[in-house]
Amino acid sequence: MQQEITVIDHKKLLETISFYKQKKARLIAITASSKENTELSYSFDANDTSNTVQKIVRINITNETIDSISEIYPYAFLYENEIKELFGVKIKNISLDFDGNLYKVSKKEAFNPNAKEETFKKTDKTVSQTDKSSKKTEQKDNKSSSEKPAKKGGQKK
């Protein structure tokens, strides 16, 4: 199986992706990999089962903000949320934005080797806080077990 990789400038991203959408290509996945700078690869498949050539569009970014392609391909929001959380790439205008809370990993930008290590101290504090709160809930459970059934049921907005 062959693959064709074309490298473009990140400002021309939306143009190129719209071009592929007009040719009725299917977006397979968005892959990110990061060493000195982050590179994103958008893989496409033409609408033909016997086509064995994969077309890949690649952009290289250091700290810029790029546009989301979820207006063109609506299902790209999951890939972009994952890349935003794990690699720290700034993407704006995602249709359903979890804002870094998709996986809730304790270390921010875990897959990016150039990230700063400032979040480690915060996680130590949260662990000790949850220990104290779990002890408090144990004492409460013993006292007020009869109050629980009244609070069940869906929330109303």
Partner: protein
């Protein structure tokens, strides 16, 4: 009309996988669903910095328990394409044999869970009893029931002799006979039809616009099957991609049952055409380059990306599993459905959340 928000999952008696959905309801009809995943994230892609590229096969196999062999095979094929290694023909046929057996056991597992989702427990028990016979074949040939550890870079580790191949062929005949009885229940029983016909309809245009893969797309009329690209020994075996046009849960069940019987047919063709020869190729040197490899797992199309830089440790491995691609299609079918049908619609994409979150 007032709206209620019900949280569904990750622990729920009807839900088979740890996924969370916030269902916005109007009086028993679901208006919208907001997903949340991330309960079993293990960060397996980051382990590539600690295990060298030959040891990583064991990690790649353990991403998922049901489609475990194809994960190992996808990783090995990606590295073999980077290093330009040609796998011997007998190893290709053996890999195809184990892949199709994996597909059979995965579809039988799904049929059992599907029957359990609408309350038909005796059919669930019978399907899983039949699946045990396939797991016995795995243990006889590879040594493990679920995780095989038999695929490696350059070929396979264990060979199957001619007598065991004949044995497998006769066992497949028995399994087909038993499975024909159960499939008649799925096709004709009225209780099954009431729960599956016209539930969760996905039209052909919607399936293409949302990027659905696997039986989810083939049940709506898109004839997408990656086995036609001819990796491993699929170029030398005759088969046609199976698809149905209705787009509801009944059509997707029919696609999976027909694929089960098609896999049994492919296995018999492989056993008939198996060539003699070596099963592994010696691997020297270190990989340098990158490759995108695509395979057809039981749930759909999986993408494997590997990037190497000339040392023992790879730069990046990325797995994009079919359930990840089917989640937007699932959210679309959940709109305008009944609350009691929600677990059925989650099961119809064949979710495998441990694959999705790695």
């Amino acid at each position: 009309m007032s709206r209620t928000v019900i949280p569904f999952g990750p622990q729920h008696p009807v839900l088979p996988e740890p996924i969370h959905l916030d269902l916005v309801l109007e009086d028993e009809k679901v208006v919208e669903a907001i997903p949340r995943i991330g309960y079993v994230h293990r960060g397996l892609e980051l382990l590539v910095q600690k295990k060298d590229f030959k040891q990583y096969v064991f990690v790649a196999e353990r991403i998922c328990g049901i489609c475990s062999f194809m994960h190992g095979m996808g990783y090995c094929c990606a590295i073999e394409n980077i290093m330009d290694i040609k796998v011997p023909e007998r190893a290709d046929f053996l890999r195809t044999l184990w892949s199709e057996l994996s597909r059979m056991h995965s579809h039988m597992l799904w049929l059992g869970l599907w029957a359990d989702a609408f309350g038909f427990e005796s059919l669930f028990m019978h399907s899983w009893r039949l699946r045990e016979k396939i797991l016995d074949i795995f243990e006889q040939t590879t040594g493990g029931r679920v995780i095989f550890s038999v695929c490696e870079i350059g070929g396979v580790k264990k060979d199957i002799d001619a007598e065991t191949l004949k044995n497998i062929s006769s066992k497949i005949d028995e399994i087909k006979k038993d499975a024909l009885e159960f499939s008649k229940v799925f096709y004709k029983d009225k209780t099954v039809a009431v729960r599956t016909v016209d539930v969760g309809i996905l039209t052909k245009e919607q399936a293409f616009a949302l990027g659905a893969v696997g039986p989810m797309a083939r049940g709506s009329g898109l004839s997408q099957d990656l086995r036609s690209t001819g990796y491993a020994a699929y170029g030398q075996v005759d088969f046609e991609p199976i698809f149905e046009t209705d787009g509801d849960c009944y059509a997707r069940t029919a696609v999976r049952i027909r694929e089960f019987f098609q896999s049994a047919d492919i296995i018999k063709q492989c056993i008939g055409k198996m060539p003699e020869g070596e099963i592994r190729q010696k691997v020297t040197g270190k990989p340098n380059g990158e490759y995108f490899m695509r395979l057809e797992q039981p749930r759909g199309e999986v993408l494997y990306y590997a990037k190497a830089n000339g040392t023992d440790f790879l730069d990046r491995v990325r797995v994009r599993t079919p359930t990840f691609a089917n989640i937007p299609a699932m959210l679309e079918t959940l709109k305008n459905s009944q609350l009691a049908d929600v677990p059925l619609l989650i099961l119809t994409i064949d979710p495998c959340i441990s694959c999705t979150e790695r």
